[in-house]
Symmetry: C2
Subunit: 451 residues, 2 copies
């Protein structure tokens, strides 16, 4: 029993790629892997509270079915038998979709979201649904930071980030409309990757703000978040998801042909960053020496976060305002305030703000002509204490607004020993190059780059 | 001289396809054709007032250059040497773009619009710029109806429709945000074709309401409007023009494989149609017998024109409101009213209205499952008397809003002997099938279908 337990804990800590490789080789069964994950959840869930819905028997049955397919010699997808956690705003057939609100309690979708169909096609086992904030906006769910249960895991993809950080699952799906993947990845010390806007179709997910909503993934390695390529490409329904920057793995796992150049961007919100964060980024800059230059954004970016907030308020009022009307007392004050703000916004002002997405994206052209990626904080600092807030998304706002691919890498530690993410931002559509540069950065900082 | 004049008048009346064929064969030069068109313009322009800008020498020089290319054995495009008239909201390098407003007088673009580049690539001679209403909205320009100079030619593509109707040019470009191609085609007795939304990129044209703005063409035959296929396909800039329903000619010029079925739709605005128009459509229905069934639109379509007006007001306020601010006294009261309406609209109401485009389009699915096209009036009646209004676009609003391909066929005559168009509307993206059915209808009504 003792040995088995150790083996289980080890399995649960495998990366998604390593787990898939072992399952494909017959060195591990999907059933053993899923059982190991469920064991880890049983041990940690009371403290972490990452899950909104979990059906252990169903998950085991799905794993066993994956094992039977392999035994029968069926062709195996790249995630065959690997469990994946799903943010509870994504429809999974046979599971409720809670959207972080009591108003949707018991709602059961009839069909899988596009991303779920693609995960299943790749062989993944859909393990369960993870906690989201209310409507994937600010009002927190029950999840705690696995590194310190008295601190927020960040939001809105709170449960997905925490589940990966706690070793409950190697891969989890999230979404980002402002800072909902990069921020919790930073707070929980995992790798969070948000591909370019439009790379992943959002069909079958809660619509917050279609001009901003973007799918993201959490994992423990850059190699694993590159599996987001399995989710990419048009699905014929999401009119914003018409192209794919993938495949990612080929480029992402390769060496850069020349040493990358990084643009360190403080953003107009630099004074919001903790003194420790500011100091940590100075150190990072020194460590990278001539590979990094500090670059100032054009003046116009000062207004970027405000434009994102306006677009978000208007579109969320349009898409989710009916919840505030139907059951105001079951919604948060913060959400009702957003709906009121969105309803007060004038249509031409909304359109003008939305048009700035392209203007700001184009304005970054000269930076991406000279640099491979932008380096910038993922959050103002480590996860704040308390569970009443999910922290400040501002360091994500500009990049989300422009729809640029972004990744948070758990490379730093804050003054209280909590994780602190380094955010890399790539040019639009250059998702693979972003991941390749991210791998280079990790190897360089660990000293491997000097070999 | 007399013979030459007759020949010239004859050349000017050629269809675009026939002219291109004769030029390619060496039976006609582009210079002779353009000279013939200029002669017709010289004779008719004082009465019709179709042109905003015309440089005779430049046009002749362009035609002669086309003839030289042919003589040198260069490959010829499908419009080689054929003159085309351009609505004065489309940028043509070397010509001013007036946009129907004194505020833009003297504005000269540096580059051709995407459609102009494509016309030139096909060998066309850009003859000149035709009169548009103010900002392609309601306030009329100087153009008169060639069939009765006391009546409006319709708008906003007034000059393009009138130029083709007067025999000044075989092909003209227009645009439609509500009823700006189909209505003037009906009033002027020419064929007007507005392809599916997004089929033709609008790069380099005045932006009114990007959710609604659609390019269209005027000609004397269905075969000629099928040349709109030359304008279709992504240009890498217009994010709404990502696919092409073309090529059109193959299908459009073929026989229908089975006898088409037509849905006669009165629309919720039937009472706006003249008694004579109503009677004419009854007769049309009788003539077509069992090929046509009257179909009622779902109840929700009652609100369609209002949604279009809301989207149009909000987007035009966003894109053109600055004109009303900069030079209010040089804008019309109607335009300023539109800007005020758009500025008063709330963002979520705008978004809700815009989302209805897809809802209404999808709601027509059951009709297009059973019928090839919808048959409906192009306008409430013949061109109204007077030049202070361009007439009522309401019979176009629903189809423009849904982005469906539509054509106006000059098949009827009103009580005063003025032309009256029959509008056919196709399923989204089924532009070729629409044109094929239109040809079938014309042949059937002329008795050829019974052979």
């Amino acid at each position: 029993m003792g040995v088995k337990r150790i083996m289980a804990a080890e399995s649960a800590k495998l990366t998604a790629r390593e787990a898939a490789r072992r399952i494909a080789e017959g060195a591990l069964t999907s059933a053993d892997l899923v059982a190991a994950c469920l064991e880890c959840i049983a041990a940690e869930e009371e403290r972490v509270q990452a899950w909104e819905f979990l059906d252990r028997d169903k998950a085991m049955a799905e794993a066993e079915e994956r094992d039977r397919r392999r035994q029968r010699g069926w062709p195996l997808g790249p995630l065959h038998g690997v469990p994946v956690a799903i943010k509870d705003i994504v429809d999974v057939k046979g599971m409720p979709t809670g959207n972080g609100t009591p108003i949707d309690a018991g709602k059961r979708p009839f069909v899988d979201a596009a991303v779920i169909r693609r995960l299943r096609a790749a062989g993944a086992v859909i393990l369960g649904k993870t906690v989201t904030t209310e409507f994937a906006y600010y009002h927190p769910g029950k999840t705690r930071n696995p590194h310190d249960a008295g601190r927020t895991p960040g939001g809105s993809s709170s449960g997905s980030a925490a589940a990966v950080a706690a070793g409950m699952v190697p891969l989890a799906l999230g979404s980002q409309t402002n800072g909902s993947v990069i921020r919790p990845a930073s707070f929980c010390g995992v790798v969070g990757f948000k591909p370019s806007f439009g790379a992943v179709p959002r069909t079958g997910m809660l619509t917050l703000a279609p001009s901003l909503d973007q799918v993201g993934v959490f994992a423990r390695t850059i190699e694993d978040v590159a599996l987001a390529e399995l989710l990419m490409g048009p699905d014929g329904q999401d009119v914003d998801a018409l192209e794919s920057p993938g495949p990612l793995s080929g480029t992402a796992l390769a060496e850069p042909p020349v040493t990358p150049a990084l643009a360190f961007v403080k953003t107009p919100f630099w004074e919001r960053a903790d003194a420790e964060t500011q100091a940590a980024f100075s150190e990072l800059g020194e460590a990278l020496g001539e590979q990094v230059d500090e670059v100032e954004l054009p003046e116009i970016f000062v207004r970027g976060a405000g434009w994102l907030e306006g677009v978000m308020a208007a579109e969320m009022a349009r898409n989710l305002g009916h919840y505030a009307d139907r059951a105001p007392h079951e919604t948060s004050e913060k959400f009702r305030g957003l709906v009121a703000d969105g309803r007060a916004m004038k249509a031409p002002d909304y359109l003008a703000a939305r048009d700035m997405r392209r203007v700001l994206r184009d304005a970054l052209g000269p930076i991406f002509d000279r640099f491979d990626v932008i380096v910038t904080p993922a959050a103002p600092g480590e996860a704040p204490e308390g569970l009443e807030s999910t922290g400040d998304p501002t360091f994500c706002s500009l990049w989300t607004f422009c729809g640029l691919p972004a990744i948070s890498l758990p490379l730093m530690t804050g003054p209280n020993g909590m994780p602190l993410g380094v955010q890399l931002v790539g040019q639009y559509g250059q998702d693979a190059r972003l991941l390749r540069t991210a791998r280079w950065l990790v190897r360089t900082l660990s000293g491997e780059g000097n070999e």
